[in-house]
Symmetry: C2
Subunit: 319 residues, 2 copies
């Protein structure tokens, strides 16, 4: 009834922070950390790590930087590490000096987010971080826009030149259908031999959970989820749905439901995410959700039919 080797990575604060510039209260982060720890899933990506030289600490909250000291404030001085903590990094937005040797950090893992065209840079960054003792991953964003041939080559290169645990299918535009995930899983498996593949699904078409199921059934070793699917735009696969399906006796749904009851009504009042029609439109059109995010921030936020016409009229397409 469950895939006991599958590893689930919670990204609630990291991906949710894309909506509110990582301005979560310490209380919220502590409650989410506690819920994820008690759920037993084992991995939590607590934020991005970025250089303070490149981003304003006034504009962005602490989980844009996820400094070791800040993490320790949340998890305590003598953290047992039962729940492995990690951060995401973007190429060019972090420097080697931003990472202490892993034995001096509460972090266990680092995930490098990249576009396929930048795979050489991603490999270099992953190797720098791996040399400091962290478990590493590479996440290939905007996967719905790459050619299968280029993807296969990029995966072969990652396989040969890194020590990452897994490479992730990232459906940035929320445009994949389960059949597409199955097809991509085959390409990932053909390009990778010792490394696993993973999935990070978006919910534009209410397929975040279904695509995650499909990836797991196709052999994914890792998958991402967030509580209530929180994440930029349409959001992600819901952790609670995934736990309900997995029926892994080592996982517990109750702590996640507790956090939904205690933390999420307040968050829902402050920030918006979910499978709204505007995000469905960009998903169907295989486009970045930025236009839909702008629509939702405007007074025309419910004018989804006008929005679709704008995106599909020839003048717009040719511009």
């Amino acid at each position: 009834m469950y895939n006991k080797d599958l590893k689930v990575i919670d990204c609630t604060i990291r991906d949710g922070g894309l909506i509110n510039k990582w301005q979560f209260s310490d209380e919220t982060v502590k409650k989410v950390f506690t819920a994820v720890k008690e759920s037993g899933i084992g991995y939590m990506e607590i934020g991005y790590r970025a250089s303070e030289k490149m981003f304003s600490t006034k504009e962005f909250g602490p989980w844009r930087f996820s400094k070791d000291e800040k993490i320790t404030e949340i998890v305590g001085e003598n953290y047992d590490g039962d729940l492995k903590l990690g951060v995401m990094v973007d190429i060019g937005r972090v420097e080697a000096d931003d990472f202490a040797p892993a034995e001096n950090s509460p972090l266990s893992f680092v995930r490098v987010a990249t576009y396929l065209k930048d795979v050489d840079k991603a490999i270099a960054l992953a190797n720098i971080v791996a040399d400091k003792g962290y478990e590493t991953f590479i996440n290939i964003m905007a996967i719905s826009t790459v050619s299968e041939h280029d993807l296969h080559n990029g995966l072969k290169q990652i396989e040969a030149e890194t020590t990452v645990s897994a490479v992730s299918i990232v459906d940035s535009f929320g445009s994949l259908y389960p059949q597409d995930v199955k097809n991509l899983a085959d390409i990932y498996k053909s390009g990778l031999s010792e490394k696993e593949f993973a999935i990070h699904a978006h919910n534009n078409q209410e397929l975040g959970f279904a695509n995650t199921i499909q990836a797991i059934e196709s052999g994914a070793g890792y998958c991402d989820a967030t509580i209530q699917g929180i994440g930029r735009g349409a959001g992600n696969c819901c952790l609670e749905l995934l736990l309900g399906w997995l029926k892994n006796p080592n996982y517990s749904l109750e702590p996640i439901l507790n956090s939904i009851q205690e933390v999420f009504p307040g968050l829902r009042d402050e920030i918006e995410w979910g499978a709204l029609p505007a995000y469905m439109v960009t998903g169907i059109l295989n486009e970045h959700p930025r236009t839909a995010i702008a629509l939702r921030a405007s007074e025309n936020k419910d004018k989804v039919s006008d929005f679709y016409k704008q995106l599909t009229t020839p003048e717009c397409l040719n511009s």
Copy 2:
């Protein structure tokens, strides 16, 4: 890129009416009818038909009864029938006299909703209606609670004793996963030979669309959807998502997006549906959503963790 033989049945007013006792304004029903007609999908279930002897016309709106005269008010006197119109009936809630001969009615089809245990009554009712000239269907509700053996026998009986076009998998509790749909599709195909199978999915676990995709990929001849997934509790498969996926050149997404823009913001203000955590809980537990509907109507509506504990404590289970 599309399954050209698949038939899509819109149930927006019929299933949405379960939330508001079918108290839609004529203007809303006209707009939905026009949108569905222009979308080109070909089938619309406009309401239930029930006997006025059994239900109060004061309590229930017109689409609880869907009388021929009322339908004609919406579609016009000389309706061309391009969009086939149908109603759903429940066993014991309608009488033979409630149907005129089909040639005198704006209706083309009738769907009999039944529990598997009542399949003999469903067959009798379907045959009465078929004798009056209507295309008929049987929808087997609460499919997640029946034994495979009983189901196979029931399907064989429907195959032998009726002229229905299709028999539907109805995931009343929203508890099915795509693998379950695939398994049920195999059972339906093994029990039916000349008749097709169909799917009516619920969205408790954000799988309404994914399960519909799975059924179509498994060979379903008909599937149900509603605009914005409107329907009791968590609601249904979204028609707009389905059209985006099907890419059938005979179907048009724009009229549906128009109705989302014009009609649905108002409906969302009046009535609630969607994949809320309370409905996820009953879906995971394979239970009727009635307890979740009651929770959402109470002051504890967001206490999903308490709700889960109530439903899973031994005292509750043994009561």
